[in-house]
């Protein structure tokens, strides 16, 4: 489903991604772990099309389609969804309006019929249950005054509504207590399907106890330095990131020679 080949990206002239290669197939859940500043969030933002990041080299294919030439809204319509690490507050726009606009924009792009208010309401009620969210939150401005947990749940709700083919969860666990984490992870798990791929970006192994990945990759210094199964996450938890950091520094040195 997703092919990332030799992806390089800069922000403000600094190279953050330095040749990322990753293949994700439909139905798979991949976790990307790494120390702070390794480029995890940059990778997530680049895939979603944030123009703050400049792609200098490489390609990204989604079902054979060059993702990098698409605007963020087209990527969303093609099935890419990013659950933000820091969901943005939009004062003055209610959650339900925002969600319906988003869904109908995507449906328009795909040539599907738009949902009217009644059908939308029916569908949203169903999806709210998935993340145990109160529908009153939808009558408030998007994310404004939401707690950390409410914001993250709102992200998963949006994912449930837009039904992406590729969902990227960027540090969805950060700032959540264990109860909120369980609810969010539970919502994500229910959205797992053979047609859907997920990339779970996280610093801590904790989240992966609840969202169990098929593959774990370690990103250090803008490159994936190690890949493995879910046991790799446990190994990382035990040995710490310095273990892979040292290893990658040695490899770079060897490469330089």
């Amino acid at each position: 489903m997703l092919e990332i080949r030799n992806l390089h990206a800069n922000v403000d002239g600094h190279e953050i991604l330095r040749g990322v290669n990753l293949t994700v197939k439909a139905g798979e859940v991949h976790s990307i772990m790494g120390p702070n500043g390794s480029g995890k969030s940059t990778l997530a933002q680049v895939l979603a099309g944030n123009e703050t990041y400049e792609v200098t080299e490489g390609e990204v294919l989604l079902n054979g389609r060059n993702l990098l030439e698409l605007a963020p809204e087209a990527r969303a319509a093609e099935g890419v969804f990013l659950a933000f690490q820091y969901p943005v507050e939009i004062p003055g726009i209610t959650g339900s309006y925002f969600l319906r606009q988003a869904l109908n924009s995507v449906r328009r792009y795909r040539g599907e019929e738009e949902l009217d208010a009644v059908d939308f309401l029916k569908m949203i009620r169903e999806r709210l249950k998935l993340v145990q969210m109160d529908d009153r939150l939808l009558n408030r401005s998007v994310n404004e005054g939401f707690s950390g947990g409410e914001k993250k749940r709102n992200e998963i709700l949006q994912m449930a509504v837009l039904e992406p083919r590729l969902a990227i969860l960027d540090e969805t666990d950060s700032g959540l207590d264990i109860d909120a984490l369980r609810i969010v992870a539970d919502g994500v798990n229910r959205l797992r399907s053979p047609e859907r791929a997920m990339i779970v970006v996280t610093h801590y192994q904790r989240l992966l106890n609840y969202i169990v990945p098929d593959f774990v990759h370690v990103l250090v210094n803008g490159r994936i330095v190690r890949s493995g199964g879910k046991e790799l996450a446990l190994e990382l938890e035990e040995k710490g990131y310095t273990w892979v950091e040292k290893e990658s520094a040695r490899a770079e040195l060897a490469g330089a020679r």
Binding site: A71, P72, E73, A76, A77, L82, V88, P91, F98
Partner: protein, 449 residues
């Protein structure tokens, strides 16, 4: 500059003399007109050297010889004014074209008999005693050349009176329409709203233009709320893009009176809105809400002066501007707290959204506080569309243009939500939010956070 000023006050003096000779109207008000003219002749047009006019250059008004607008030669029909109406087609309204009352387009019958709803030209003749205590008693012209000019020249306008203790639930719409045309003309619409003790009234004034031609509207509105009187006032500027609009609103309120005045500027070439509110009864409550939309090379100057002249009064100013292209917005908010106005609570907010590198805003709070137990706060912001918000919306599939429109709308939504008349609120939503999504239901939903 001085020469131009002199020449043009001469033009108005000559015009006044001509009108005086030809007019067959009542004479009781003439001394006031003469005094006003004398003040105008003495002051002439302000220049940007005047501190109060620093950001707004009215030289084009001083330079041009505007003739008094005549009743239109081509009759204006209902279809022409329909775009400026809201709600039901037969809702209560007074319609003026080029400053002259048009009874055929007006519906003055929708209000209860206790409410007086009439045109000033007629009342000047028939009911001088009703007008005398109020007309030109509040909008001082001694230092205000444009108010002076209006007072000297106004031909007609609306008079709304609600007696003691009466609540007029029907909103009253006053439409001042300019037809425009090949020659520069000026009209001087005058509005007087009197809500007696413990009464209530809602009035919407719409200023609109059918054609361009650089016409000038020089309007004055006086609003008086007696003790515990409630006035909800809206002033909607939908003038033609090359029109000049100078509008003065003067509000006065008694003890425990509540005045709300909304200034909504969606049109015009050069607009100056002057609002001067005096709270001279204890426990008064004042809201001045504003929304101004700059497009093209539009210039919009909102000049507010709130005077707390009695204790325990609250005032809130909430003005928001959206400026596109090479438009220019100006906000000046002066709050004056008199010596005895203890326990004053005054709040001023001016927020601006700049949508283009060429758009410009000047915003200036001015506080003059002579009492010692008061709370006065002010805040001004000038911002742009947040890239992070844009990306968030787009990452959810909302196309760039719609995302931008949505964020602009979100910025304006609180101002629109403050409009209490539902059909007017809906009309504004449509005016401000066309294109991206015209589904009214959705818009209502979006603006209701």
């Amino acid at each position: 500059m001085a020469v131009i000023t002199e020449k043009n006050s001469n033009h108005y003096v000559a015009e006044f003399e001509r009108l005086e000779k030809t007019s067959a109207g009542p004479t009781w008000f003439n001394p006031v007109r003469k005094a006003a003219l004398a003040h105008f002749a003495e002051q002439g047009f302000p220049t940007t050297r005047h501190e109060e006019w620093r950001y707004t250059n009215v030289a084009p008004l001083a330079r041009t010889t505007f003739r008094s607008a005549a009743p239109t030669a081509v009759p204006v029909d209902l279809d022409a004014i329909r775009p400026f109406l809201f709600g039901d087609a037969d809702s209560t309204r007074l319609v003026f074209v080029n400053g002259h009352y048009v009874p055929e387009l007006s519906i003055a019958t929708g209000v209860p008999a206790k409410v007086t709803l009439a045109n000033l030209a007629e009342l000047l003749e028939t009911e001088p005693d009703t007008l005398r205590p109020h007309l030109a008693r509040y909008a001082g012209f001694e230092t205000q050349p444009f108010i002076a000019l209006n007072t000297a020249f106004f031909q007609d306008g609306a008079f709304i009176h609600v007696p003691r203790g009466f609540v007029c639930e029907t909103p009253i719409h006053v439409v001042y329409l300019s037809t425009g045309g090949p020659e520069p003309v000026v009209s001087h619409p005058r509005t007087l709203i009197v809500a007696e003790e413990a009464s209530q009234v809602t009035v919407v004034e719409t200023y609109a233009g059918l054609n361009g031609g650089g016409y000038w509207t020089n309007a004055v509105t006086e609003i008086v709320a007696g003790d515990a009187g409630v006035v909800d006032h809206y002033r909607l500027n939908r003038e033609h893009d090359d029109a000049y609009h100078i509008g003065a609103v003067r509000t006065q309120q008694g003890g425990h009176g509540t005045v709300t005045s909304h200034g909504l500027t969606l049109g015009g070439g050069l607009t100056r809105n002057e609002i001067h509110s005096v709270m001279n009864g204890e426990g008064g409550d004042l809201d001045l809400n504003g929304l101004y939309i700059g497009r093209g090379s539009r210039h919009i100057d909102n000049h507010l002066r709130v005077e707390h002249a009695a204790p325990h009064c609250d005032s809130r100013e909430y003005y928001k501007g959206i400026l596109e292209d090479s438009s220019h917005g100006v906000f000046t908010g002066r709050i004056v707290v008199h010596k005895d106005a203890q326990k004053t609570d005054a709040k001023q907010t001016n927020m601006n959204l700049l949508l283009s590198g060429n758009a410009q805003v000047d915003t200036k709070p001015q506080l003059e506080i002579f009492a010692d137990d008061v709370k006065c706060t002010h805040g001004a912001t000038i911002g742009q569309i947040e890239e992070s918000e844009m990306f968030y919306l787009r990452s959810r599939g909302i196309p760039e243009k719609e995302a931008r429109d949505l964020l602009v709308y979100a910025f304006a939504s609180e101002s629109i939500a403050r409009v209490k008349i539902a059909p007017l609120r809906e009309a504004l939503q449509r005016l401000l939010f066309t294109g991206a999504n015209e589904d009214r239901l959705l818009i209502e939903e979006a603006s209701n956070p």
